[in-house]
């Protein structure tokens, strides 16, 4: 390894898989970076411009979906590992956070950080155990993990077992009342969305990110090139788990309760995969575009007088059209169609 001149990817990975010194933020030089930031800023401030709480709720769902999809994209889009049970991190984070708030009186913010930490720790342990599996085996294993954690929580009395945990409404007074709490949590999700998009760029333009992309393209070849694939995959999994863990705490705090059946909904995991595929996996803008399109479409259909009784059928048909005609997702299709957009749509 030392005598020959190693490739840049190999150099980074040689120092330990996920090497922070190799984690260079080069994405800011690209228009795509500023386009993503601009879109989030514009979208994030729509409720302020309109003064509408309905818009805030719609944007809350969209930003949460963008964050979750962008997180999933790190392991699915960059690394090529389809995680069907990614919602496990959202649920586990939510449980840890709500337990700390209800049982120990922690503030939402520290509890949210602990939720993220718990999700990251679970990903680290799982990564060591199941990331050596490939393809369908890994996908099946992630479903199994989600079900195993749900069953465990269902029987874990400390977290309320099957009954779950409830937030006392009076807790919201510590955050200025329920109306202020809803704005605070909205801005927290807005900040998290900015963070995960910046992180996505950071990863993609780092040597670590190039290592992940090489794993996606051909894992065996990546290993031959010197990428320590187990370590790189594990760190990618950890990074993709932390934000969902934090989001879980914020979401269930806002909804005032958590129960196993709603915290570990497999259906939600599949929705996240659809969002990433719809926008374009492996691109930074893809999850942003996919999640926004998916959530905006669902919100519109649900509340449209014309479509509200047919919203699922309509959404299904639309997704069918996209899968049939735009398999690389919206961003992938635009990139292949308009070469000049390559640097803009990353």
């Amino acid at each position: 390894m030392s005598s020959s001149k190693p490739a840049p990817v190999g150099k980074a990975i040689d120092r330990g898989g996920f090497d922070l010194s190799a984690f260079k933020l080069g994405g800011w030089k690209y228009p795509a970076f500023w386009l993503a930031i601009g879109l989030i800023l514009i979208g994030g401030f729509i409720p302020v411009f309109t003064g509408s709480n309905s818009w805030r709720e719609t944007m809350f769902l969209i930003l949460m979906a963008v964050s979750l999809a962008s997180s999933l994209n790190i392991i699915l889009g960059y690394t090529g590992y389809v995680s069907f049970g990614h919602i496990v991190f959202f649920g586990l984070g939510g449980y840890v956070g709500l337990y700390l708030i209800t049982a120990h009186g922690w503030s939402l913010w520290t509890a949210a950080l602990m939720g993220g930490l718990a999700a990251g720790t679970l990903a680290l342990l799982l990564g060591k155990a199941i990331l050596h599996l490939r393809g369908a085996y890994f996908a099946l294993a992630t479903i199994g993990v989600n079900e195993a954690v749900r069953t465990f929580i269902n029987n874990f009395d400390l977290f309320g077992g099957a009954v779950g945990l409830e937030i006392n409404f009076l807790v919201y007074k510590d955050y200025g009342g329920p109306a202020t709490m809803q704005w605070l949590t909205y801005w927290a999700v807005f900040g998290l969305t900015l963070f995960i998009v910046v992180l996505s760029y950071g990863i993609k333009f780092s040597r670590f990110g190039l290592g992940l992309l090489s794993i996606r393209e051909d894992e065996d070849a990546a290993m031959v090139l010197g990428v320590r694939t187990p370590s790189a995959k594990t760190w990618a999994y950890v990074l993709s788990a932390i934000v969902p863990g934090i989001l879980g705490v914020i979401f269930f705090f806002r909804n005032s309760s958590i129960a196993p059946q709603e915290a570990f909904r497999l259906h939600r995991s599949i929705e996240l995969i659809v969002m990433v595929m719809l926008g374009g996996q492996g691109t930074v803008l893809g999850p942003l575009v996919g999640a926004t399109t998916y959530e905006a479409l669902r919100s519109f259909l649900l509340t449209s007088p014309l479509f509200k009784d047919l919203q699922l059928a309509f959404a299904g048909l639309l997704l069918l059209l996209i899968v049939l005609f735009v398999p690389t997702g919206i961003v992938g299709w635009l990139r292949s169609r308009y070469r000049k957009l390559w640097r803009v749509l990353e």
Binding site: S54, F60, L302
Partner: protein, 466 residues
């Protein structure tokens, strides 16, 4: 070219579906439209500004639009709710929605005439919450802010209601809950949420009382239940109640929601030799459990299960259904009458049981279940509160709800008004049904508890059933 053809065909399909969606009325729409049609033309014109005012978001959060319209001869109150038209709660939610729509139909025939001569009519706005928690807060915010809902009705299930309650409290909008039995929802400092269902903690306590009345010597109870929020809530409270009455809980086992093989639990029941078995969870698991108990010829003298027995489909189990007891929020055989109200010293309000059942059957062609009765009762209780308040002012209606103590076709309704459990249902009691055979040998559902509501004597013990 083939792809293009497919694309065009799919577009045409979407277009057709959209057209169908436009012409097919949404569940709430008929009531809304019928209300408009049934109102006299001048009144309709006068109501129009009220409807427009009700759509103003600011008005909904600060001063209800309906209050502004009080000066007119007719005012329209907007009721907002989400229904689970898709997802896991679709079936019970549909019954709830049907009940509420029937109430809207009936109330809008004449409206409520207040003391100052104002006629109050109602319109409903509803969306599909997909049985998903993440949709609920967004949709209820839209209902309050954009649709100008003056009052809210809960979604179906406690989990979704928890999320909706936050929005109701945030915007100061009163919400009547139906289909949300969990006690916890009402014990966390809410002030504007009122529960119609008997709380989960009292779902099976009546079954224990029934057992005591049938066999004072019974001492041992086995609990086998679905390991989910609702059933665990119910069984925890039932176990506590049973122990307080001197019973010994000889078995307490939870099973997974997807369980289909109950053999291990049945073996444990056989070993424990209880005097009664209680538990269950939802329809599929409960009916499978009852069937397997019967197939294995397990000696069980008293069997009470949640949710499944009150459903008409439970009769498809045949002999396995015979003698099984189940708690229900309401049954068509329930004996709630003017006389019963007089005897209890409370006000009677609304249609009789027979009138409700007949109207429901006329509209939907089926017998109403307790979800439908709960939906109808949610509107009825709101109607009663507006009448008692003599106004649609939210504060006045809230005060009237706090003071509600009535008997309706659905049973007694009275709310807890203490800060610790404000809105928790205090007076409504479960009825307990048992599947029995009529003279022709057909399986029929009978109310066997409480005594005052009995439509037939309970069969006990099950081993003696011919």
């Amino acid at each position: 070219m083939k792809r293009l053809s497919l694309f065009v065909m799919l577009l045409a399909l979407i277009f057709t579906a959209v057209q169908c969606g436009g012409s097919a009325p949404a569940p709430a729409a008929p009531a809304q439209e019928e209300a408009k049609e049934e109102a006299a033309a001048p009144a309709q014109e006068e109501a129009a500004p009220a409807e427009e005012a009700a759509a103003e978001p600011e008005v909904a959060s600060e001063e209800p639009a309906a209050e502004e319209a009080m000066t007119g001869e007719e005012t329209v109150v907007t009721i907002g709710y989400t229904a689970s038209k898709t997802g896991s709660q679709e079936v019970p939610s549909r019954g709830q929605t049907h009940g509420l729509e029937l109430w809207l139909d009936q109330i809008n025939q004449n409206g409520i005439t207040l003391a100052d001569g104002t006629v109050v009519k109602f319109q409903a706005v509803t969306y599909d919450d997909e049985s998903a928690k993440e949709r609920v807060q967004s949709l209820y915010t839209t209902l309050v802010e954009q649709d100008g809902a003056n009052f809210l009705i809960s979604p179906y299930s406690s989990g979704l209601t928890d999320a909706a309650a936050v929005i109701a409290e945030t915007y100061g909008t009163t919400m009547i809950t139906t289909g949300a039995a969990s006690d916890d929802t009402y014990k966390k400092g809410l002030t504007l949420v009122y529960q119609l269902y008997t709380p989960a903690s009292r779902y099976l306590t009546g079954a224990i009382d029934l057992l005591a009345s049938l066999n004072p010597d019974a001492k041992k109870i086995a609990f086998v239940y679905e390991n989910a929020k609702f059933s665990t809530d119910v069984v925890s409270a039932a176990q506590e109640y049973a122990e307080s009455k001197g019973y010994e809980v000889v078995l307490s086992e939870g099973y997974d929601s997807e369980a289909t093989d109950f053999a291990p639990f049945i073996n444990k029941i056989a070993a424990a030799e209880p005097d009664a078995v209680m538990g269950g969870g939802h329809f599929n698991d409960g009916s499978t459990f009852a069937r397997q108990l019967h197939e294995k010829e397990t000696s069980v003298e008293f069997l009470a299960l949640l949710v499944a027995p009150p459903e008409l489909d439970f009769a498809e189990l045949g002999d396995a259904a015979l003698g099984v007891v189940g708690p229900s929020q309401w049954e068509p055989q329930a004996n709630y009458t003017q006389e019963a109200a007089d005897a209890a010293g409370v006000e009677w309000y609304g249609p009789t049981v027979a009138d409700f059942v007949s109207a429901y059957q006329d509209k939907y062609g089926e017998e109403p279940g307790y979800h439908a009765a709960g939906g109808f009762a949610s509107g009825l209780v709101l109607q009663q509160a507006i009448e008692a308040a003599g106004s649609v002012d939210p504060d006045a209606v809230r005060a009237a709800l706090d003071g509600t103590n009535i008997m309706t076709f659905y049973g007694n309704v009275q709310f807890n008004t203490t800060p610790e459990a404000h809105g928790l249902q205090e007076a409504h009691e479960m009825v307990y049904v048992q599947w029995q055979k009529d003279a022709d040998g057909n399986l029929v559902k009978q109310v066997v508890w409480p005594v005052e509501g009995q439509s037939a004597e309970p069969i006990y013990p099950l081993a003696q059933i011919p």
